[in-house]
Amino acid sequence: MIRRLEDMTLGQRRAIWAWGFLALPVVFYVSIRFYPTLEAFRASFTNWNIVGRMEYIGVANYVRLAHDPAFWKVIGNTFTYLGLGVPISMLLSFVIAYHLDRVRFGHGLLRALYFIPHLTTAVAMAWVWRWFYQPPPIGAFNVWLTTLGFGQMPFLRSTTQALPAVLAPAIWAGIGFQIVIFLAGLKAIPRTYYEAAAIDGAGAWRVLFEVTLPLLRPTIVFLVVTSSIAYLRIFDYVYAMTNGQGGPLDTTKPLVLKIFETAFTHFEMGYAATQTIVLFVILLAISLLQLKLLRSR
């Protein structure tokens, strides 16, 4: 929409309305989100530990962080959660939404079944999942595995399996949200496109890749960005399934858990603030990158 000179005054008027609408929200975001963030930023350069004594120590916290092997392990975990969580959840939720979309009979019931996990609390569900992961004869998963002839798995008691094992309930709980958004996106695609494709004689796969997915692009963008942020910030399920430890041997610990631990167990608020800034930078970078990649083309 290109406007010319005669509309500039109109545009200016519009701009005033725009800022009028934005006035209160801007004040809100600045005081509730940005000012505290600046506080956190400031605190990251201090050795503040809860009470009064806040001395500036320059970048010492950042240096300490860079040299902390536990921090790098945590970063690795966090990106693993991202790298596994987003593709798996997006794929699963799309497949389910795609097929669910085509179903008429019992559609509402099925949709509700897939959404219910999203409504549950992590603490309660983690308890149930922990039981599922127990060795046989108590843990359901292992009982199925052994019945089907496979060996039993240590799951939460393994340094390699623990992270995926903790990720699974998080994906399980999050999928409902993605399915619902995908369903809505699919619904929005006008039938004319499909009719045109049918006239062209296109098969189901071609339709999927040349019609459906491209038209779903804004939905996909939204979901990828929000899911990435969510998995990078994973906390509730890890905390609940590992008793707040992030174990065994720190193999499941994500950055937010480390921040929580630093702030509320060690009371090193300055050091925790440093970690928060790192998290913030990561989140911002990933989101901007995704927005850019997914929007261009």
């Binding site: 530990n49 009064g52 039981w131 008691r157 008793n243 174990g247 041997l249 167990t265």
Partner: protein
């Protein structure tokens, strides 16, 4: 610094407001007491407050309790902001953290003389003395004991009234109590293995000592278990899982759950567990002193203490002192014993015959006379070091000697980080 001035101003404002709010000067003082939420503790404090207020008409005590999981978070947020308690209950292991954060003030020596405390209370309480001043005193203490499931004993052919008295007997009984399915799956464990529970205390203060070592140096600032004794004790513990296979880490999620559901023959746990076990339908259990080794007996004691925060000044401070004294009288301790099930911190009360020979409290109380309370600088972090140590051996097949050495380095870092600041 601007922050300190602000804090000062806030205190003055708070006191002024408190005075104004109470109408006439000093007619009524209100102080706040905080502890964590637990039905019996809440009940006990409510009753104690009732008695205290009856005896001290000018003082009102507001009782606030906070869910355990975030007790520390709330305190950490409240006190520096000038809110929160005047008298606060804290875990003894947090004392150093609280002192560092400037949350507690020393108890007035006139009301809490060191001489009296050291004469009356169990020796472990002396840890609350820093630089010659006491910062907190407990109402009750807890120690560890061996719990055993009488029904499972009978089933395994063991005398249900004769618990193991030595470590060797412990292993022997545990083997008899371990049940496995035909394909080797654990159905019932002989002894619970749970470093995340009380086992790390058992290792630190009991097993290591029983093998001839000590966990820390005399000045508390150095780790001292990276020795043959320490390794031997750790190896003995790990063998329970890997060699004798009488227990499994994570079986039924944790040791308490395993014992409560009747799937574990024995468990090492604290006196705080009595309430929950009593409520467990169908569980017939016994309590015994921890097994000895080579006639060496040791135990770990822990306790929650009551301190006065830096927020309490003037009239509130006086009221707080009075309340704290009340909380540590023998009567208060007796009430706490019957209501909460925690052992009296005063020797005279604890060692009354009725208590010392009590079928359930007895083993705990007898254990108190040879207990140690570790000087934690950060209990959860130090517990994690032990958990990781065992996991390294069990999950990654690291040689025990190396795991112990690495744990010692980790823990030393924690201690250094604290003492050298």
């Amino acid at each position: 610094m601007a922050m300190k001035a602000g804090k000062m101003g806030f205190w003055l404002g708070a006191i002024l407001a408190a005075l104004l709010a109470t109408g006439t000067a000093r007619a009524q003082v209100e102080i706040e007491y905080w502890q964590y939420t637990f039905a019996q503790r809440v009940q006990a404090i409510d009753e104690l407050i009732k008695r205290f207020e009856a005896a001290n008409p000018g003082i009102k005590v507001k009782h606030t309790h906070v869910p355990y999981d975030d007790f520390r978070v709330k305190i950490a947020a409240a006190i520096p902001a000038g809110q929160g308690p005047d008298v606060v209950q804290l875990f003894y292991g947090w004392l150093q953290d609280y002192l560092k954060a400037g949350l507690l003030q020393p108890l007035p020596a006139s009301d809490f003389s060191a001489v009296e405390i050291e004469r009356e209370f169990f020796p472990i309480v002396q840890q609350m003395k820093v630089d010659g001043k006491y910062y907190a005193v407990p109402t009750a203490v807890r120690s560890l004991a061996l719990f055993w499931n009488k029904a499972l004993f009978k089933e395994a052919g063991l005398d249900p009234n004769r618990p193991p008295a030595t470590l060797d007997e412990l292993v022997d009984y545990a083997s008899k109590l371990t049940k496995r399915s035909p394909n080797g799956d654990l159905l019932q464990e002989g002894l619970t293995i749970d470093m995340g529970g009380q086992d790390h205390h058992w290792l630190r203060e009991v097993l290591i000592r029983q093998y001839g070592g000590v966990p820390y140096s005399a000045d508390k600032k150095s780790v001292a278990y990276n020795t043959d004794a320490g390794v031997a004790a750790t190896q003995w513990y790990i063998d329970l899982v890997s060699k004798q296979k009488v227990g499994q880490i994570g079986f039924l999620t944790d040791g308490v759950t395993a014992f409560r559901s009747g799937k574990a023959g024995m468990t090492i746990d604290g006196s705080f567990r009595l309430g929950a076990l009593d409520n467990q339908k169908g569980l017939d259990y016994g309590v015994a002193e921890l097994p000895a080794r080579n006639n060496i007996k040791s135990n770990f004691a822990s306790y929650w203490v009551n301190g006065i925060t830096t927020k309490a000044t003037g009239a509130k401070l006086d009221a707080s002192v009075k309340f704290l004294r009340f909380l540590t009288t023998p009567e208060a301790m007796e009430l706490w014993l019957t209501t909460v099930g925690e052992l009296p911190a005063r020797r005279s009360v604890a060692e009354k015959d009725a208590n010392k020979n009590h079928v359930k409290y007895g083993p705990f109380i007898r254990g108190l006379s040879y207990s140690y309370a570790t000087d934690f600088v950060n209990e959860s972090a130090q517990r994690k070091v032990m958990m990781d140590m065992v996991d390294k051996v069990v999950l990654k097949n690291m040689p025990t000697k190396q795991a112990v050495a690495e744990a010692a380095v980790e823990e030393q870092k924690l201690l250094d980080g604290f003492y050298k600041k």
